[in-house]
Amino acid sequence: MSEANNLQELKNIIEAALLTSHQPLSLEDLTRLFSEGIERPSLRMLLDELKLDWTERTLELVQVASGYRFQARQKFTPFLTRLNPEKQGKYSRALLETLAIIAYKQPVTRGDIEEIRGVAINPNLIRQLQERDWIDIVGQRDVPGRPSLYATTQHFLDDLNLLSLTELPEMQDFSALDNSALDFNLQG
């Protein structure tokens, strides 16, 4: 098998790999395409070129937490979803709030989640999030009972089209409200 000898051919190989992959491909994955390896800067350059090549096309090359992937441009979503009319049911508020707490306060225990939400949490909910591969257990807190610590996964970021947690919507910062700001009228 003769190896690729020009940049166009290298780019084509990367493109074919990305188009046929079922999950995002990391730079490490892409390096493995070439028996003699490839320099990181070259690889990045080729990916940038590839991104540019597809700008006018139906697919776009995006980078998410676990690597690069091709996905349909958003404007096609209304049409594409018609192919699979059985839409996933809406997530419950309980699930979304639990997910938000884990995403923003990770790593957290069940107790932490219950404290913030003010209600006991249904164990099914945690399991549901784990089955979705959006959260997993990253350790145990060193307190009696050694409760599990939950965190969001890379898959969660991938599914939300994010490169890292920092891309999540910003949390409203109430810490600025220190006690002097809470100057209550005690007769209230």
Binding site: Q74, N161, F174
Partner: protein, 258 residues
């Protein structure tokens, strides 16, 4: 409050003033009960609905309003009430601490409501983020990941084998085969019954056949000849054919008995 007189009657009496407390018709409660995610959610709802200042919560009013809901909940959904009852106890505690005279020397003492306010604000922030998470495009819903068809064949590298290993393996096969050679019990491939039918069919057309003609010594192997002979004997035993010989060493004839 609007200063126009109310044209309403309750139990026959003219109702002239709007109630000053935060009134929600009890029937309306049921509609909302399901949608609250917990006591904090309910409190936030009450605060927002009545435009209360979250930094200066009128505890008495809020507690009264809150208790209405909880009682309703208690009536229809007992298992939910636990967390809610805990909150009402906490609220009453806050209110009673507020009523205590504040020792003037201790300037730094926190407002009894501070912790509740902190929790309400934290919860409200999370609630907002949960909504935002819900609205974000997700793979499988709003994001379609490209996946061109490709039969993901894993390249299997055949293991190396030396000529010596191969030779040894072959010797092994031969050795094992020799164990089986002499006591091989073959399955009967020739059916006596089948040959009985063949012979009877032949005798139907030819009526009388010379015994030796039933055997094709050139084409048939010994097993077949034996089976054929057994078939003739069996047919004779069952009285289906007759075997005759005029004299010693003269030709033997076989004929159907039917």
């Amino acid at each position: 409050m609007i200063e126009t007189p109310l044209n309403a009657k309750i139990k026959g009496e003219a109702f002239t003033e709007l109630p000053l407390d935060l009134y929600i018709p009890p029937d309306a409660l049921e509609v909302y009960l399901e949608s609250f995610e917990g006591p904090l959610d309910l409190l936030l709802y009450l605060i927002r609905k009545h435009n209360l200042d979250i930094l200066d919560i009128p505890m008495a009013e809020l507690t009264r309003q809150y208790m209405q809901y909880v009682e309703k909940m208690h009536a229809i959904k007992l298992e939910l009430a636990g967390d809610y009852l805990l909150m009402s106890a906490m609220m009453i505690e806050i209110k009673s601490r507020m009523l205590l005279p504040k020792p003037t020397e201790i300037e730094s003492e926190l407002d009894p409501r501070a912790e509740l306010v902190r929790r309400l604000m934290e919860y409200e922030a999370i609630k907002l983020l949960a909504q935002q998470l819900d609205e974000m495009p997700k793979v499988g819903e709003d994001i379609s990941v490209a996946s061109a068809y490709y039969d993901h064949i894993t390249l299997v590298k055949p293991p190396e084998v030396s000529l010596e290993d191969l030779a040894a393996a072959w010797r092994n096969v031969l050795k094992r085969a020799s164990h089986y050679e002499h006591h091989k019990v073959g399955k009967a491939e020739l059916s006596v019954r089948e040959h009985m039918s063949i012979i009877l069919r032949r005798l139907k057309t030819d009526k009388m056949v010379e015994f030796s003609e039933l055997f094709d010594v050139v084409k048939d192997g010994i097993p077949k000849l034996v089976v054929c002979f057994l078939a003739i004997l069996e047919l004779a035993r069952e009285g289906l054919l007759r075997i005759t010989q005029q004299a010693a060493f003269s030709p033997i004839y076989v004929q159907s008995n039917s």
